[in-house]
Amino acid sequence: MSTGKEFLKGFWSENPIFRLVLGLCPTLAVTTTAENGIGMGLASTFVLVCSNLVIATIRNFIPKKVRIPAFIITIATFVTIVDLVMNGYFHALHKSLGLFIPLIVVNCIILGRAEAFASKNGIYISIVDGLGMGFGFTVSLFVIGAIREVIGNGTIFDIPLFGSSFLPLLLMILPPGAFIVLGVLLGLMNKAEIRLAKRAGRQPLIRKEHDCASCAIHQGWFGLGSGASVAAKEQD
């Protein structure tokens, strides 16, 4: 695969949030403002790139049986570095992201990329993968954060957008707002992907388990529609 493709896949075809649906804990929790979204995204990107770099470098030295502890130690080291540096130099941002910085350690995206990509590929391409995935994650968090901030608080980057008569829809910056925005965006992206795939004449990238018709809860809801039966057969 080419460098450009490896970089760009994080934005659409393998976007960590909207395609892989990974790392949802920070996604739901810190996206109350656009700024928090970007801060969290960049912190994760830094950890992701560094851990990909180190793991790709020492990948032949790590025995298979202890690879997960080795990955976790590497990731935890970089997370601690981010935590300390941010506390010292970006104190206000550190305060608003709070607990979620140490929790980057358990963000599935980072361990997932270490396991699925960096431990099998060269140093250069692993860094590109980390950058692409990280920026894809950052952009996604920014979009969710911006939507929630605009609707829920009437501001973007703390700049008021509407007059004083605007009554913000508080729900959007409370936890339910995160689920609503994420769900709506996920649905819109799937719709766009289906349309794009049809135009290009290829199979849509949507995973079967993310398709409502194949979900166990909704089985039978769609009658004997072709989508449901095909998905169900394939699952068997």
Binding site: L84, N87, G88, I173
Partner: protein, 202 residues
């Protein structure tokens, strides 16, 4: 057996390298973190006191009250104490404790309040941080008998935040308690009585 020792060896090396890197970073960031925490405190003190020309973080007095130690920061101008700032904790906020810093002048009149820490609901209780709510306490004191230390809803003198009466009341009541604390320990805080000052220095 041989494999186990190899696995241990590899993991030990990785952990040792990590520990070394972290020790270095921790040492390098120790000063900036201390500085950032200090700046945070200083800017809070600055926002609740009238203009001063000393270092309130070095001019503190520790007052014991109700079994707890309170650190009081004193602002001076040309050597005269012009105000004192201390943090109080309202235990009965909607989301938990609300910690805020109260600044008073030597007569016990409030010069400013700033919220340091809270867990109130964003958009509702979190508005206790806003100047619109906190500024109404400025200029009030216990000596002013026209002031009733409660919210409008309870017949008091202070406007509460719509939808956040619990948070508003917690701040109002605790502010009054802070003023009582200042009145009780005024001598020690302002270096007036000899005894208490000696105690606090020990």
């Amino acid at each position: 057996m041989k494999e186990i020792s190899r696995l241990c060896f590899v993991l030990t090396i990785i952990a040792a390298v990590s520990a070394g890197v972290l020790a270095f970073v921790s040492q390098e960031t120790e000063e900036p973190i201390k500085q950032a925490l200090l700046d945070e405190k200083l800017s809070a003190v600055k926002s609740v006191l009238p203009p001063f020309d000393n270092d309130p973080d070095k001019d503190t007095v520790i007052v014991r009250s109700g079994g707890l130690d309170y650190t009081v920061y004193r602002g001076r101008k040309e050597g005269e104490i012009i105000g004192a700032a201390f943090s109080v904790v309202a235990p009965n906020g909607y989301g938990g404790e609300i910690e805020f810093l109260v600044g008073v002048d030597p007569d016990g009149v409030i010069t400013g309040i700033v919220v340091l820490k809270h867990l109130e609901t964003p958009g509702l209780g979190a508005k206790i941080e806003d100047a619109a709510f906190l500024d109404q306490f400025k200029g009030t004191s216990l000596a002013d008998t026209a002031v009733v230390w409660d919210t409008h809803k309870e017949g008091g003198s202070f406007k509460h935040i719509t939808g956040a009466t619990i948070s508003s009341r917690a701040v109002t009541h605790t502010t009054a308690r802070g003023l009582e604390f200042f009145a009780e320990n005024r001598d020690a805080i302002l270096d007036l009585g000899g005894d208490k000052e000696e105690e606090s220095k020990e």
